[in-house]
């Protein structure tokens, strides 16, 4: 059981080769989860962000070995089975926070983890939380808008 990892709700056993890979390469090459993006390979950009037991982590900086027994969520794990979007994804669309889209999966996952901890954040708190992820297109303003919009929609759902 210990040489296995749960990815988007499915348990995957890990062989020796896979255990030797970086988590990003395991997810992209072995599982075909190409929503995990490789922007720098040095932990600077956050495009490869996945949730490891709910915490945003850079999958280029961790080995698959250290992900054993953990629960990984990638961007592919957010979509509902009917194809409808998670409110954070929808908010990114509506707020115009998507341009080239390469940073988007990492941004969405970072925002999601943050909103689980803080359901009513200020824009300053959002900026603090999203500072781990680089974007070269948007100037971040509509990404902050999107996280704010998602927070308010999620609060409405919970009420």
């Amino acid at each position: 059981m210990k040489t296995a990892v749960t990815v988007n709700g499915t348990l995957h056993e890990l062989n020796e080769y896979q255990l030797g890979l970086k988590l990003i390469d395991y997810l992209r090459e072995e599982l075909g989860l190409t929503g995990v993006k490789n922007g720098c390979g040095t932990g600077a950009c956050g495009a490869c962000t996945v949730l490891v037991d709910g915490v945003p982590r850079r999958s280029c900086m961790i080995g698959t070995r250290s992900a054993q027994g953990k629960e990984i969520i990638t961007i592919e794990g957010l979509e509902n089975s009917d194809g409808s979007l998670h409110p954070v994804q929808q908010a990114f669309l509506d707020a115009g926070a998507v341009q080239c889209g390469f940073c988007t999966p990492g941004m969405v996952l970072t925002a999601l983890a943050f909103l689980r901890k803080n359901s009513d954040p200020s824009r300053e708190q959002i900026r603090q939380a999203m500072n781990t992820n680089l974007c070269r297109c948007t100037g971040y303003q509509q990404i902050v808008d999107a996280v704010e919009l998602a927070a308010s929609r999620l609060r409405t759902i919970q009420e």
């Binding site: 341009q99 390469f102 509509q142």
Partner: protein, 776 residues
């Protein structure tokens, strides 16, 4: 046009937020193998010898490709054919590629890199453009007799004669640094040999037609043998032209030689090592002012570092020349812009294209001049700026569009409260450690290529019999949302619901060469082509339906998802009587309007294809190389950006508090995306101003990674207020101009002016790094 603000429209949005969008590196093909480049330790060397022997014995390695394997041209380029896609005999910079290793897996290819033995005889290098011009300096391009690659000039009036007689004379020097595009997605290419002999190219590049030329040149094959597709691209900003095309060409050669699909994905390190940068400029301005604060004469000399290859340096330099003194009318201008060959990294196109450097100088000069004369910076600009029917420094009379320079400046100045905040700026004096300042800058930017090149584009509209519509244009989706804008244009022109339209998967084999999607030309050129195609289609439909609608073709209108006879546009259609189930194919009955479905059914039943090709050619421009005079661009975007900031006296840290960006873009088509361009352009400008610096020693980038090269993060960014000003351009078929580059070209001087107003110290070199000792 977006009826539901603030919501943005993007045809690729769903795919991108779900991670389903397949970028180049996400593609897999059966039998696909992997390629990696081999660089050398040299920056300048001759007698290059590449020994591939032991690499070939390495497990999984299929081939090691060098210049000797090239069937076509080893060197190619958009202006000069000088860029070696594989090094042949000589190394001229650190990014030169000596070989390409192809192996069954990427790991195996990487493992073989150290086994390729490269030897050469090192030559002395030259790494400073001023040194490079001195006699006896090493010659970078061995066939040339000097390192001067390019020279553009402006000779207007008698600047050198007028200058000494001016009441005030400013003598100012400025410099700007290398800028890395830092698109989030590094270069990648996947090339697939097809059974019919065509090579399919999937690449992260922003100029598919140029890519096709590079591939065809390297392979020595006709253009029709190469079909370039455009997967979603993770950013370009002008940076995915030459280098990205060459990456595609190398992968295509490997695919041709091995007859297998080949993937070549760059690491960030390779991308930063090899890709071209924004030109660093050194600028020397002498400006003569009258007592009244009018600029009487300007003399400017600019030196730019081109690296060893020409790339598009002449076009970049040309824009610096044509816009050498900002949005001001001056009768006497003498300017020289030089591009110098060195063994530094190659420089080429980047968003802004020779304007951000010049504006950094000119818009500080405007503030310096205002202070010298004793008038406000706004007043100085008012007295000198281009006006309706006035003349630019190139002698162009601005009489074909609304010259809104003052309107735009006033909008931004008012929004930020410029005059009041200027009065309370610290100028180095403050009771606290925080020094406060406000600053602004204005610019005008020639939209589209202008006199630097041929400018035309095409679009195809193909209506299906069920009422759905396929659209394709020669404009490339860089991530900016160009496909979405083209769809919105078409929906508006045809008066149909946006949901009918699909943007067709673009390929270079489908539509004619639409040029490159750079130069703030996508919206204006692609939009013009879409409008032309829509006009043809409407004419065809109107002529075909005039009998049914019982009117003249010119009276047919397109609105509300219907094709309408005169006066029927406002009438509510009767859904029961006119549904698509009731055929009108044989009907001769007088109808006041037809649904779009009925229209298509009618046309197809009469064997009329509702298909149209449209093209748009930019209005004529002109240029005289000797005098630097002419109608440089057919229209201009007017911009003003303003910033409030504080400088910490102890740390020197600059904190941006608020930015206002006002731009007259003609017409906004997809408002949320226009704002996105503004914010993103400002962010890149902030990086250029405050955080971005490439450490280059003897031609080598010391830390080619995004940990050391600091592009702005979200906490570096203040809240930005975007202001869209719309004076539709009569020469643009859609009224729209563009926003991509204007957004980036003027925040640097605005920040520099604000830092001056905060500290009383003027920073003339980028990036601005405030040394607390300067503030003592």
């Amino acid at each position: 046009m977006n009826k539901t603000p603030p919501y943005a429209f993007r045809n690729d949005g769903y795919a991108k937020v779900t991670g389903r969008a397949h970028y180049t590196d996400d593609l897999k093909f059966h039998g696909m193998v992997h390629a990696v480049p081999v660089y050398t330790e040299y920056v300048h060397a001759e007698n290059l010898h590449v020994d591939t022997g032991s690499a070939l014995q390495s497990p999984g390695v299929l081939r090691v490709i060098t210049a000797e394997d090239v069937p076509g041209k080893v060197c190619y380029g958009q202006i000069a054919e000088d860029y070696p896609m594989f090094s042949a005999g000589r190394i001229r910079c650190s990014g030169d590629v000596a070989a390409l290793i192809v192996a069954e897996t990427r790991r195996e290819a990487l493992d073989a890199v150290p086994l390729v033995r490269v030897t050469a005889d090192p030559l002395p290098g030259v790494f400073d453009p001023e040194e490079a011009l001195k006699p006896g300096s090493p010659i970078v391009r061995e066939s040339a007799d000097s390192n001067l690659m390019n020279h553009h000039r402006m000779r207007r009036g008698e600047a050198e004669e007028v200058l000494p007689s001016c009441r005030y004379i400013l003598d100012e020097k400025f410099s700007t640094q290398y800028i890395e595009h830092a698109y989030m997605e590094p270069e990648a290419a996947v090339c697939v040999p097809r059974q019919d002999g065509v090579i399919e190219v999937y690449g992260s590049m922003q100029h598919p037609f140029s890519t096709r030329r590079f591939v065809a040149a390297l392979l020595g094959e006709p253009l029709s043998n190469i079909e370039v597709y455009q997967p979603p691209m993770g950013g370009g900003f002008g940076g995915k032209d030459d280098t990205a095309a060459i990456v595609c060409a190398r992968a295509a050669l490997a695919a041709r030689l091995l007859n297998r699909p080949v993937k070549l994905t760059y690491t960030r390190e390779w991308s930063m090592r090899e890709s071209y940068k924004r030109h660093p400029y050194r600028m020397h301005y002498r400006v003569g002012l009258g007592e009244d604060g009018r600029v009487r004469a300007v003399s400017a000399a600019m030196l730019s570092d081109g690296g060893p290859y020409l790339s598009v340096s002449p076009w970049v330099n040309w824009r610096s020349t044509a816009q050498c003194f900002g949005p001001y009318s001056v009768d006497h201008v003498h300017a020289d812009v030089y591009c110098i060959a060195t063994n530094n990294p190659v420089t080429g196109a980047m968003r802004g294209f020779g304007a951000p450097q010049v504006n950094f100088a000119v818009e500080q000069i405007a503030d310096i001049a205002a202070e010298k004369v004793g008038i406000s910076p706004l007043e100085f600009r008012r007295r000198n700026m281009v006006r309706q029917d006035g003349e630019t420094v190139t002698g162009q009379v601005l009489n074909t569009h609304t010259v809104s320079m003052e309107e735009v400046m006033d909008a931004a100045a008012h929004e930020i409260g410029y005059e009041e905040k200027l009065a309370r700026s610290s100028r180095g004096l403050s009771d606290t450690d925080e020094l406060y300042g406000v600053g602004l800058a204005i610019s005008y930017r020639g939209a589209s290529l202008g006199a630097e090149g041929m400018d035309f584009c095409s679009a195809v509209v193909n209506c299906q019999f069920d009422g759905s519509i396929l659209l394709e244009t020669g404009i490339h989706e860089n991530g900016q949302g160009s496909e979405s804008v083209m769809m919105l244009f078409l929906a508006e022109e045809l008066g149909v619901d946006l949901s009918r339209i699909r943007y067709k998967r673009p390929s270079t084999s489908n539509v004619p060469d639409g040029g490159t999607t750079v130069a703030t030309r996508g919206t204006i050129m692609g939009g013009g082509a879409v409008k032309a195609a829509a006009d043809r289609l409407k004419q065809l439909i109107a002529e075909s339906l005039s009998e049914v609608l019982n009117c003249k073709p010119e009276e047919v209108e397109f609105a509300g998802d219907r094709v309408c006879g005169p006066g029927s546009k406002e009438e509510a259609p009767d859904p029961a009587g006119e549904g698509p189930e009731r055929s009108v194919a044989g009907s001769r009955a007088n109808r006041t309007s037809l649904s779009w479905e009925e229209t298509m059914e009618y046309l197809y039943s009469r064997r009329i294809y509702p298909y149209a090709f449209g093209s748009f050619q930019a209005p004529d421009v002109s240029w005289d190389d000797e005098t630097g005079q002419g109608d440089a661009y057919f229209t201009y975007v007017y911009s003003c950006q303003a910033v409030e900031l504080t400088v910490n006296r102890i740390s020197g840290a600059v904190k941006l508090h608020r930015i206002v960006a006002a731009h007259d873009i003609g017409r906004a088509i997809n408002q949320a995306m226009v704002f996105g361009q503004m914010y993103g352009g400002v962010a890149q400008g902030i990086g250029m101003t405050l955080t971005e610096k490439l450490d280059i020693e003897a031609g080598k980038i010391i830390h080619p990674d995004l940990n050391h090269y600091r592009i702005p993060r979200v906490k570096d960014m203040p809240e930005i207020k975007g202001i869209i000003i719309e004076n539709p351009d009569p020469q643009s078929p859609t009224g729209a101009k563009g926003i991509g580059e204007p957004a980036l070209e003027l925040i640097a001087p605005a920040i520099a002016n604000a830092v001056y107003n905060a500290t009383g110290v003027r920073y003339r070199d980028l990036p601005i790094q405030v040394n607390p000792e300067d503030l003592a």
